[in-house]
Symmetry: C2
Subunit: 759 residues, 2 copies
């Protein structure tokens, strides 16, 4: 990746006697103030155009008392008793080019405040053998740095722990980063959970979270591990009563536990809560936090624990992820922001030539819907991979990943310009793969007898198509790490260059959680190992992204939210896709797998669920749900029935030189225009909730004086996601920059427009 | 491996109405009776020559109630309500050849009783989505098999779980295998502990265990994780007041948690106890076991838990390890028994030509003693492997694994017929390797700058010597599994064929224990992966062996007990090595690393500890502590001062065609004669405790009519392990079968004899 840097560094040494610092964003709209309070607690506040965004909020970490405290593991919390030792401010303005993305270049422009804090305590002294000497208390001086980066659209802050004599290793009991909201905002929230983020988003006032929490949890999901009745996930999108859009998330979460937020409300007795491992219920912790409760409407960070309940094992020099607060009085800025990406490290890969945005179809939806199966046989009550001769096993006849069907999908992809075909259920082990605490669940290299891996890859390659690999780990990470190298070698051998991984079910090693430090390390380990093999990774059920795709652009996608599959599990609300870009997509692209045309699944299967969307709305998702990886998720035969509408999926790009968010309101509507990479062509998509939406689409983003062949895929007048989802119109005309298109989105509908520059 | 089988199978179908079965050992000395009691609990008892060894004892497993109970995870305990459905008896008599061992062939002769038990319960019915229907209870029929093998020197029993509709997956809360002792035996015991077995053995009556428990624990050991004040480890050696030697252990513990024993005594309130993870103290469990307490002097199995407290995740078909009870009225039979090996599966490796017993020396003892270091620099408070340019680091000058010193050891090995040289501390990361919860602690491939891996291996090979690899994992198993393949490839590249692994410190993933199911799986995974690279493994701090070396003979050694290193950490009692062969060595050889000649460490270092042994006693250990891997642990310069005594180490074999235990008493003395593999030469060793010992060594094991050049290495008359450990005599004579050697072992001493057949 080539990076164009325009770096301005203005390092200024503030007087060491200063007790507070402040920094404004480049355009002055955002101001960040920092101080330490009378107990020496680090405290920050944030305003936007003079209006409060984050009221004074404490920062700090509570450390665990480890049995090895005597051997360098510190026991003293990093919460209070701090004095400001140094403050540095600087400014950075650079432009860089992502390997793939919504725009060709990204500007990274911020002002920085880095505060060095010193804490002096006295601790017990130990002998070399770990025995507490029992008498002397020795001075213990520790420095941490809190670094703030202030952008025009938000801030990032993180804790940094320099290498030092008195702070080498420490265990985190809890991070206590506060975000004191200025009022009872409206929030789009998911129940805070250590293992799943596939719930429907709730829209409520902050004060209503506790009351709505139980009904917000889909308790039937086997992975539910909620921890508090006011715990929510990030990215958390809010809107204040006076119209400020505020978003809390994190950036660059690597080898650190995923952060949740716990809201302090009138009923909060103790901030620290714990999961009762024996059931899906949350129980308050027996010992309340020793630190005073912050003000109401304050969120406090709550990290995902490991199997022992601890939140992190750290070694200096190190730092936390960035904690981010985005803000604007224009909702479109939430979507256009690059703050999360900018807070991540530059690309770590030398060669990125093998990374490419991809449109794909796959042998998948028919299994999700239940018409065919991932598994091959019903012969056995359970499977032990070493003990089965698959050639002698009796197939049940519903196995989808068979040669004939895969060739059909390859033919479809080749005919329609889709670059890859995902095939799930190709490898042995699906007979009893989930939630059985089965470590050795897959080997990732042995195909079922009816899947000829060599023939099918050869067949695909002859047609200019690649197969896409699938590694469902069943969350047995130990097993996956043991087999991963061989699995990647198999991919290299047969010409796969992308893998969809999956983490369904409970984590093995037992007791660990999907979003813990060790699991976050695992996901990134997979991405790094895959890069060595020139393999792109799209992890499902993994941790929610935090912009690490900037550093490792072979991480081309993630699920990490409620995807299209839920349309076969009872459906998602029509406003779901008008919320996700504000929340889930802040950290990186989602493999949402859009494109369901036959929304009434019972029309071709026994599944009575149905997708809450019109066909025109489905087309819009290829624009509004940005991803370099876009699936055409429905079955070839379903697309063939609506081939004129499918033309848009054939045409639409999935990598962009420019993107313009034309209008947006969380949960209501999003309209975006994007310019296809390396071309003069634009594509526009609009998606709305169950209310419908009218758009005056001004084409002023087009080149002046140029003509464009415009094709409009719109909901028909009587279209409706419930009653008439397949009513669409296609119209064509020649347009120019000054034109305005008047478009009507049906309830649960949308539109898609292609604008091909006339040469 | 060639196996000579002489198999006799006598399958007899017992009437299905039988309520009890019994089987006697081939010579009739041992009788095993089985029944189910009035509550349907499986019950067995065992006698030896009509005397009780195990009084009626229950068998069963308590299962965990998992959140996935509704999805096939069973909740009903496998404890009671059983009926006998079938009984099969058979006899087996075969002879097999170990790849290495104490004898050239091993006879496996037993009678077997296999009882199929059926348990019918009614359980709640669930819908497909996991919801309890709430009303109907459905019949739930499960079969298990309890298999007994009765040898002339003991029994093995195990639980087998056939694959069946109502028993596919289950989680073990606890195994409740009882061993009801017939009296208040003397026991040689170690505190039951999930993470260490490096304590001094206690000798006491069973009734004294509780009172002596706290003082038996070395609380300064960072790994201590005891669980009950009457918990002890296996192999547990006992002696009844009427002279029966009884030993409880297990065989073939693979992918199952290591078993401890918990003694029921007058103060036992609840059998189930738990570890308080936050300290080294044990606390009783809040909920007592629902099952009635067995009789006093009963041991009940207590498995090592995982991070969540569960003991095992099982998938049928599967079985537990064998639970073994050895018995004899002659202590020598305890040492000569092959019961544990016989209960293991035959060799699983096709090619074993690369596996060879080995004598070695190593760059090790001087670091243990503290004269030099594993680590290379003192420059950093901690190390992050990726961030250090080792070529630029300032060495502290005490790094032992340097080119010059390693060459010195290679020269010494070559001169003295030692095949390999272990080098510890060769690879980067030792600066902060232990107990810091540091996952990425070693990479196992990067040498320190002063260790030229290519040059040193070439140098060694030119002299007919190999280097022995060292992989200290720091118990970060996740890190080791990630690097293992590359580490083994490095070994292949440079010509290493053996690795000493280490598991010092706390297990990562956090919360797991050294002897849990997952860790036991890890150790065996390493052995299997090593075998693919033709690498022999000698794991330290790993789980205690259970005879798996029969199946995987590249597992040539283990530590798994208090080794010679403790002579530098305060010392071990002189009787220690007269106990280990009865306990630790039952499951497989120990890399005890004998051979300390300069027992007063302060004579060549600043270490004030001293070895509680004479030089002649040290020589004896090469016979009494059987291992195919024998180290000459002291420094070359220390051996060179006593080169006449070192001659025995040069001469002694480490693989045998025959072994004769001539006399033995636990904790007092052991005398053994062994015939070197493929030769007519014999070696005899005698080792005693602090009391000294007189031996009339009858040479009747020699060939009749043959003459032998006999060299006797004996304690001098005034030798004493405390005051005069280096006083030895060497005498030579020609002997024949009818001769008797009168030998006196000093307190803490011993003797060694070589008998070379005169041609």
């Amino acid at each position: 990746m080539k990076t164009k840097n325009l770096i301005i560094l203005l390092a200024m040494l503030i007087s060491q006697t200063a007790l507070a610092g402040s920094v404004k964003s480049p355009n002055g709209n955002i101001e960040l103030k920092f101080t330490v309070d009378d107990k020496g607690r680090p405290t920050y506040e944030m305003t936007y155009k003079g209006r409060p965004v984050v009221n004074p909020s404490h920062l700090g970490l509570e450390l665990a008392k480890d049995k090895h405290a005597s051997r360098g593991m510190n026991e003293t919390d990093l919460m209070e008793g701090f004095a400001i030792k140094d403050e540095q401010t600087s400014e950075q303005d650079e432009t860089w080019q992502p390997v793939w993305g919504e725009t060709r270049t990204i500007r990274n422009h911020y002002r920085e405040l880095a505060v060095t804090l010193e804490q002096t305590t006295k601790i017990a002294e130990y002998k070399g053998d770990g025995t507490n000497l029992g008498t002397a208390l020795v001075p213990h001086v520790r420095n941490i740095i809190i670094r703030f980066r202030v952008y025009d659209d938000g801030i990032g802050l993180r804790y940094e722990f320099p290498q030092q004599k008195d702070l080498n290793y420490f265990l985190i009991k809890e991070e206590h980063t506060e975000f004191a909201m200025a009022g009872d905002h409206t929030a789009w929230w998911l129940p805070g959970d250590y293992d799943t983020q596939e719930q429907e988003t709730q829209e409520s006032r902050l004060s209503e979270i506790r009351g709505r929490f139980n009904q917000a949890v889909n308790w039937g999901n086997s992975s539910v591990a909620v921890f508090s009745p006011t715990g929510v996930q990030t990215s958390l999108q809010m809107k204040s009563q006076d119209g400020l859009y505020i978003n809390i998330h994190e950036a660059a979460c690597a080898d650190y536990a995923t952060m949740h937020l716990e809201l302090v409300d009138a009923q909060t007795k103790a901030l620290t809560t714990k999961l009762d491992g024996t059931s899906n219920a949350y129980t308050p912790a027996p010992t309340p936090s020793p630190y005073p409760l912050p003000a109401p409407f304050t969120f406090v960070s709550h990290l995902t624990p490991d199997a022992t309940g601890l939140k992190g094992a750290m070694q200096t020099p190190c730092h936390t992820p960035w904690r981010t607060v985005m803000v604007s009085d224009d909702a479109r800025d939430m979507l256009a922001s690059n703050l999360i990406l900018n807070l991540n490290e530059p690309c770590a890969l030398d060669d990125v030539s093998w990374i490419h945005p991809t449109k794909y179809c796959g042998v998948w939806w028919e299994m999700i819907v239940g018409k065919s199966n991932w598994h091959y046989t019903d012969d056995f009550p359970s499977i032990q991979l070493d003990n089965i001769d698959w050639q002698k096993v009796k197939p049940h006849g519903r196995h989808a990943a068979n040669n004939e069907k895969v060739k059909r999908y390859i033919d479809f992809a080749a005919k329609n310009g889709l670059q890859q075909v995902l095939v799930e259920g190709w490898n042995v082990g699906w007979e009893d793969w989930a939630n059985m605490w089965k470590r050795d669940v897959f080997d990732f290299v042995t195909p079922y007898p009816d899947f000829d891996i060599k023939m099918l890859n050869d067949y695909a390659h002859q047609k200019g198509v690649k197969l896409m690999m699938h590694h469902e780990t069943s969350s047995s990470t130990q097993n996956y790490e043991r087999h991963m190298e061989q699995a990647f070698q198999l991919m290299n051998k047969y010409g796969y260059d992308a893998v969809k991984t999956g983490y369904v079910g409970d984590i093995i090693p037992r007791g660990d959680h999907h979003y813990s430090q060790s699991m976050n390390n695992h996901y990134l380990h997979v991405v790094k190992e895959a890069a060595k093999h020139h393999i792109m990774v799209n992890a499902h059920e993994a941790t929610r992204p935090t912009g690490l795709c900037r550093t490792y652009p072979n991480m081309v996608g993630n699920e990490s939210a409620r995807g299209t599959e839920y349309e076969a599990f009872g459906g998602s609300r029509p406003d779901h896709t008008c919320i996700l870009p504000f929340t889930r997509l802040q950290g990186g692209p989602m493999d949402y797998t859009p494109g369901i045309f036959e929304t009434q699944l019972k029309s071709w299967s026994n599944n009575t669920s149905w997708a809450r969307i019109t066909i025109a709305g489905s087309l819009a998702l290829y624009l509004t749900m940005y991803s370099p990886l876009q699936m055409a998720a429905d079955l070839p035969e379903n697309y063939e029935k609506y081939d004129d509408a499918f033309q848009f999926i054939r045409d639409v790009a999935c990598d962009w030189d420019d993107s313009r968010y034309l209008e947006a309101e969380p949960g209501d509507y999003i309209t975006v225009a994007r310019k296809a990479k390396g071309t003069d062509n634009w594509f526009v998509g609009g998606k709305c909730d169950e209310q419908g939406h009218k758009v005056n689409l001004r084409l002023d983003f087009l080149d002046k004086g140029r003509k464009y062949a415009c094709t409009i895929y719109a909901d028909a007048k009587d279209a409706h996601y419930k009653t008439n989802p397949k009513a669409y119109t296609i119209s064509r005309r020649i347009v120019k920059q000054s034109d305005v298109l008047k478009l009507t989105e049906a309830p649960g509908g949308g539109f898609a427009v292609s604008l091909i520059a006339v040469k």
